[in-house]
């Protein structure tokens, strides 16, 4: 089930909200768990069992780590939990990748497993690992209630698309949380804004990609339109989904961490990754980079650590070489920035940093969006006229005009400018009173528009839920 679907908006969510709010506090986690299991079951009937098994594994490992805390067994059990989690993820997500490459390298003919990727496995696996690792490190308390633990793992607002919520973030809220009208309203608002970002903006931008794939007579400008369109689409798609997750979490009394902080206003890749998919980059930082030594090692080891983290980051996104290349691409840039580039950028006017960042991120997403490395290079060549294609044609101009406004809206929307402007306007007391009435009307209108888009449009799932 997707948040941006009629089933979710007009059937699942109203029922869950009603049942949740009329249930006494003691029963709220149970309601959430059942709702989350139903939510997952609708999207992934068979693999619901896998998610429950993963939750059970995390829970049992947690109890055992707690029991043997301070002994060598705690470490062994921790390693066991990591092997189970990564092993399960590796099997379902990467088995065929390895089989294909073994066949290629060794000229064998091993059969592919052709397993469907369980939705959200990359997210909930990392969440479970954050629990066992933090428990081992003494940063988290053991969760003795399987109900509470399973609720944490399966919590539907962030189950299939993040943010990756660490156990320590909501540890207390699992057993003690207060739902205030302020949170309910701000949660609803955040949800609707996220929904609008996804359905109205991201889904419209996705049409550029669809158009590009069926166009035979591509031009240089069309390649740029495609690249810029995707760069904006993936931001609004993913950040929209994170907004929805955070909003829904707030409705139920949870405080999920922010996952995006206007990444496209960054002036370096270093800054970009502090603003883009924050929950993932911090996860890799805390559970891979720092345990490897981080930057408190020799230069060579530091380079090694960066490359390992970014290779894994790329690999986490998909079982294809272009994702690995994407990750390594950013790893190399981060190294170069630390060594050389940042010093240069600091001396230049800010605009250079912005252009530098947007250009590199755009190329990165061209690699990310391709079906394979060959296609990635073809698309990059297309951007720079290396494919013996014309610069522009009638068809390209038509589509440029068709999508220019939505691109402009998306560009502005990807900056803090609109929210800063609204904040400034409502500083005035009188305006604030009016805004208290106008804001809900705007949100209601957005809900109507989203409904219109969903009914009118075709199925367009969130890009990241196959991770």
């Amino acid at each position: 089930m997707l948040f941006s679907s009629i089933s979710f908006l007009y059937y699942f969510l109203p029922v869950v909200l009603i049942v949740y709010f009329i249930t006494p506090n003691k029963g709220k986690n149970f309601v959430l768990l059942i709702a989350s299991l139903i939510f997952y079951f609708v999207g992934e009937p068979i693999y619901s069992i896998l998610m429950i098994a993963s939750s059970l594994s995390g829970y049992i490992h947690g109890l055992l780590i707690n029991k043997y805390q301070g002994t060598k067994w705690a470490k062994i059990i921790l390693v066991s939990s990591i092997i189970f989690g990564i092993g399960t993820l590796g099997f379902f997500k990467y088995a065929d990748f390895f089989v294909e490459n073994i066949n290629l390298l060794l000229k064998t003919d091993l059969g592919l497993l052709k397993l469907a990727l369980p939705i959200g496995i990359s997210f909930y696996t990392f969440q479970i690992l954050s629990y066992t690792i933090d428990l081992y490190r003494g940063k988290a308390q053991v969760q003795k209630s399987f109900l509470n633990f399973a609720t944490y793992v399966s919590l539907f607002p962030q189950l299939i698309a993040g943010p990756i919520v660490r156990y320590t973030t909501i540890e207390e809220q699992l057993s003690k949380r207060k739902v205030t009208w302020e949170n309910i309203y701000s949660g609803s608002k955040r949800f609707i804004i996220g929904l609008s970002k996804k359905v109205i903006i991201a889904n419209t931008l996705a049409e550029i990609g669809e158009m590009f794939s069926v166009t035979d007579d591509k031009t240089v400008v069309l390649y740029w339109l495609f690249a810029i369109g995707f760069m904006l689409q993936i931001y609004f798609d993913f950040s929209g989904y994170s907004d929805m997750a955070i909003g829904l979490g707030r409705l139920f009394g949870f405080d999920f961490p922010e996952n995006f902080n206007y990444p496209y206003i960054s002036r370096s890749i270093t800054e970009f990754w502090r603003r883009w998919h924050i929950s993932l980059s911090t996860w890799f930082r805390d559970y891979v980079y720092i345990p490897l030594g981080g930057n408190k090692v020799s230069n060579w080891k530091w380079v090694r650590n960066i490359l390992i983290v970014w290779l894994l980051t790329g690999f986490w996104h998909g079982a294809e070489w272009n994702f690995i290349l994407w990750g390594v691409y950013f790893g190399i840039i981060l190294i170069l920035e630390k060594l050389v580039i940042n010093k240069i950028l600091m001396r230049l006017p800010k605009i250079f940093g912005h252009i530098y960042l947007l250009f590199l991120v755009l190329i990165g997403f061209v690699i990310f969006n391709a079906n394979n490395i060959k296609e990635a290079f073809i698309n990059i060549q297309g951007l720079f006229g290396g494919l013996e294609i014309s610069f522009v044609n009638v068809e390209t101009l038509y589509y440029l005009k068709k999508y220019l406004v939505v691109i402009a809206i998306a560009l502005i929307g990807s900056t803090p400018f609109p929210s800063q402007m609204i904040k400034k306007i409502v500083e005035n007391q009188r305006v604030q009173k009016v805004f208290r009435v106008v804001e809900p009307l705007i949100l209601t209108s957005l809900l109507f528009v989203v409904t219109g888009c969903l009914i009118s449009g075709s199925f367009n799932p969130f890009l990241y839920f196959r991770f």
Binding site: L9, G43, P45, P440, G452
Partner: protein, 367 residues
């Protein structure tokens, strides 16, 4: 406190819409058919273990919810308004509106398709039509008249005609582009209006070196409304439905129409079809593989074979004035071999290959 009250009310409003939406969607009776979209709406999916296990049930359920959402057309209009007025897009899913008329973007030119159709015409001509008088004509889609000057993508019509000319040697081309204009077509439909086809019929007679002519005044004009054309439901903003026009005279009333598919006799015009999914089926039963019209009032034995698409259905009742019998062959529903098993192509008679630019550009639809 006031702030909290307003937030409480705001949340109730938002939540209320979702709950009200759910209740209304569940309780309102369901439609089976959408006339504005010309299609059957989804049914509630069958509850089967296998379908639930593989997720198909839930996908079908979502389709069902989408199809039966309350005030569906109203919500589709909201999406269209956003696209046209906020995003400043010129078309909605390839459909656009100019002066109340609806048009579809047909682009780009599919040269392979044009060549394939040309070869098909040549093959049929060589295999079955030896000794006959062969002609072909092309019906421009109505975008031809408006697209370029209004900045919309359109086919390279000249290139299409050139390719046909280069590849069809056995049939003579009859140009009808020059006698048509945008007003000869329905506002909400792809097709042309029968009351505007007298000039087309005469142009075809002329192209066949036939001095026969018809005049509009010999016909009685009838109108059926509302006629929701093919584009009406695809463009959710309120368009005015058309009036479907058909022409009758003594010939059309006495004509014998035989539908080979249903093996039965029928009428030239079936008025009841105006209320069906395809209102254009009023003319000669709509899409059928083989249908014949016989004119008992004709004083000669001339026959005409028309290989056609849906446009031919409204032209043939005008052409029958001249012929003893017209065969209407639609290769989208039966192959030429199957057709040949059912009819005799008589030497010396005339054959007309009559296709719209849309079909020529998508000739894979022909069997």
């Amino acid at each position: 406190m006031k702030k909290m009250t307003s937030k409480f009310i705001a949340f109730l409003m938002l939540c209320g819409i979702l709950i009200l939406g759910m209740v209304v969607n569940i309780t309102l009776p369901k439609q089976e058919f959408s006339y504005s979209e010309r299609r059957k709406l989804s049914e509630f999916p069958q509850v089967k273990i296998q379908k639930i296990a593989n997720g198909d049930f839930f996908d079908d359920l979502e389709d069902y919810f989408l199809d039966h959402f309350v005030y569906r057309d109203f919500f589709r209009r909201i999406d269209s308004l956003i696209r046209l007025n906020i995003f400043n897009q010129k078309d909605i899913n390839g459909i656009y509106s100019i002066n109340g008329g609806l048009y579809k973007i047909e682009y780009p030119l599919n040269e392979e398709s044009v060549i394939a159709l040309s070869q098909k015409i040549e093959d049929i001509s060589q295999k079955y039509l030896k000794g006959m008088q062969l002609y072909y004509s092309v019906i421009p889609d109505k975008s031809y008249f408006v697209s370029e000057e209004n900045g919309y993508l359109c086919l390279d019509y000249q290139e299409m005609l050139s390719i046909l000319d280069e590849n069809i040697s056995l049939s003579e081309y009859i140009d009808i582009f020059s006698c048509l204009n945008v007003d000869d077509y329905y506002l909400t439909d792809i097709h042309w209006r029968q009351d505007k086809l007298v000039k087309v019929a005469n142009q075809i007679f002329d192209g066949m070196n036939d001095s026969y002519r018809i005049i509009l005044e010999d016909y009685e004009i009838h109108k059926l409304s509302p006629f929701y054309g093919a584009y009406y439901g695809q463009f959710p903003l309120k368009a005015r439905p058309d009036e479907l026009v058909y022409l009758t005279n003594e010939t059309t009333e006495k004509a014998l129409v035989y539908n080979y598919y249903t093996s039965s006799y029928t009428k030239v015009y079936d008025e009841e079809k105006i209320d069906s999914a395809d209102g254009y089926s009023v003319y000669l039963e709509g899409p059928v593989p083989l249908i014949t019209i016989e004119n008992p009032l004709c004083d000669n034995d001339d026959e005409l074979y028309i290989f056609r698409d849906s446009f031919g259905s409204s032209l043939a009742p005008l052409l029958i004035e001249r012929y003893k019998k017209i065969y209407l062959i639609d290769l989208r529903y039966a192959s030429e071999d199957l057709i040949a098993e059912n009819i005799d192509y008589k030497e010396g008679q005339r054959v007309l290959f009559l296709y719209s630019t849309t079909i020529i550009n998508n000739s894979s639809t022909l069997l």
